[in-house]
């Protein structure tokens, strides 16, 4: 947990260690919830990512043990998976979540930006991100994954956070051009 919170280049290793430590929960889940292994594995991965986000953002306060916390979240994810299979209802959690940083915009500007976002071709953006080039793609995905410019600099061997940020913004600019120019 401390390793994940500390961040930096080793964070991913600690996250992998966490994932591997409780892998046996998948077999436990297939037996208990009668889900197939793939569904349980997906629920387990989602639970691990939820725990990681909670640890990084200090939302996990440590009042219960990490294993207990993970187990309960995993159980809920398994139940979600069962419900999805039995009701065919798509989860509301699949909706694109509004970036809360838009809250600070004045109302009129926020409406305009929201409308532009709603009209955008997300699939095209995703395709451009896949083909933009490995280094740019890694930078942009790391940024999306919540890594700071300092962590990105360590991961990719830049001299400083400032240099990493400049490169990242250049990659974003490149992505924007490709997105704009492709129908």
């Amino acid at each position: 947990m401390a390793g994940i919170r500390a961040g930096g280049a080793l964070r991913r290793q600690y996250e992998n260690q966490l994932y591997e430590k409780y892998l046996y929960l998948i077999a436990d889940g297939t037996r208990k919830h009668r889900l197939d292994e793939e569904d349980c594995a997906s629920a387990y991965s989602d639970a691990i990512m939820t725990v990681i986000e909670s640890v990084v953002s200090n939302r996990f306060e440590g009042r219960s043990e990490l294993k207990t916390y993970l187990y309960q979240i995993f159980t809920n994810k398994c139940v979600d998976a069962i419900r999805k299979k039995t009701t065919n209802r798509s989860s509301v959690h699949n909706a694109i979540s509004l970036d809360d940083s838009l809250l600070q915009l004045p109302d009129a500007a926020r409406s305009v930006v929201q409308r532009l976002i709603a009209e955008s071709d997300v699939d095209n953006l995703r395709r451009q991100l896949q083909t933009i080039g490995e280094r740019c793609r890694t930078m942009i995905l790391s940024w999306g994954d919540g890594y700071s410019d300092d962590e990105i600099a360590q991961l990719l061997g830049y001299n400083s956070a400032a240099v990493a940020k400049t490169s990242r913004l250049r990659c974003l600019e490149k992505l924007r051009e490709r997105f704009r120019d492709t129908p």
């Binding site: 992998n16 994932y19 591997e20 892998l23 046996y24 929960l25 998948i26 077999a27 436990d28 292994e37 594995a41 991965s45 990512m49 939820t50 909670s54 939302r59 009042r63 916390y69 309960q72 159980t75 809920n76 994810k77 139940v79 419900r83 509301v92 959690h93 694109i96 979540s97 509004l98 970036d99 809360d100 838009l102 809250l103 600070q104 915009l105 004045p106 109302d107 009129a108 500007a109 926020r110 409406s111 305009v112 930006v113 929201q114 532009l116 976002i117 955008s120 997300v122 953006l125 991100l129 942009i140 995905l141 940024w143 999306g144 994954d145 913004l169 974003l172 600019e173 924007r176 997105f179």
Partner: protein, 260 residues
């Protein structure tokens, strides 16, 4: 400074106040800037979603490499064989069995009522962590209403601000089902259990809704409040959810099994 850099500095609060004002004014008159901001936000969202999908794939690779390990072996309880086949009197044999049985009973690690209550509370906490900390919103191009603002306060962890927003909506529209739900969720997270129970109860009383988790949420709030009759009341609510096939039935089944 190019526009993406300016946008990032604005969104992360790094612009001085006068430049913030100029930026916001420019958004109204410069469609290219608004477009760039929309792109930035969408790019961030797409990057986050794709990063999660890749991470899931990496985890799958780790799992396949490890094989899926089996859960730890359950602890074997020793089998006590009665002395029926031995040449001892039945009375002596019965006494020995009784003594062994009593010894087994007193040596078993018991689950105290306090342990059970803690386990239920942890189960509720885990549900709250996975369902009530990040609430879904949708980008539908025009929703700037108070509920969306309140939800975004919740997602930022600004619960008192969220509470104020939802209370204001309920003042104007006391029967608004979404305001009842979200105000109840915020009250639960702020440990204002009495208020949370009141709101979820009002929600649960509605029979005209397609989707209504009111009864289940009220059960959760009662289990957290933990007053003398709350547990029994929570069981009744969970049974109602199961019998009437209301929202969150699988979760209610699981929680009720733990309570019984």
């Amino acid at each position: 400074m190019n526009d993406l850099d300016l946008i990032e500095n604005y969104l992360t609060g790094q612009l001085p106040a006068d430049e913030q004002t100029r930026f916001e004014a420019a958004l109204r008159t410069d469609p290219a800037l608004a477009d760039a901001l929309a792109f930035y936000v969408l790019a961030r969202h797409t990057a986050t979603a794709d990063a999660r999908a890749e991470r899931r794939a990496e985890f799958d690779a780790l799992r396949r490499k490890a094989g899926v390990p089996l859960p730890p072996d359950p602890v074997e309880t020793p089998v006590v064989r009665p002395f029926w086949g031995r040449p001892v009197s039945w009375a002596a044999a019965a006494s020995i069995v009784l003594l062994l049985g009593l010894g087994w009973y007193f040596l078993q690690p018991g689950t105290t009522p306090a342990d059970a209550t803690m386990a239920i509370s942890r189960q509720v906490d885990a549900y709250v962590a996975s369902h009530f900390v990040t609430l879904p919103t949708t980008m539908d191009g025009g929703t700037t209403d108070s509920l969306t603002i309140g939800i975004n306060y919740v997602n930022k962890g600004q619960l008192p601000q969220a509470e104020a927003v939802f209370r204001a909506v309920l003042t104007r529209q006391p029967a608004n089902e979404n305001a009842l739900k979200y105000a109840g969720i915020v009250a639960l997270r702020l440990q204002k259990y009495d208020y949370a129970i009141e709101l979820f109860h009002r929600l649960g009383e509605r029979t005209d809704l397609f989707s209504n988790p009111g009864r289940f949420y009220e059960a959760l709030a009662r289990l957290k409040r933990g007053r003398p009759m709350d547990k029994e009341q929570a069981k009744k609510l969970l049974k109602e959810v199961i019998i009437k096939n209301l929202d969150e039935k699988p979760e209610a089944t699981q929680l009720l099994n733990a309570l019984l």
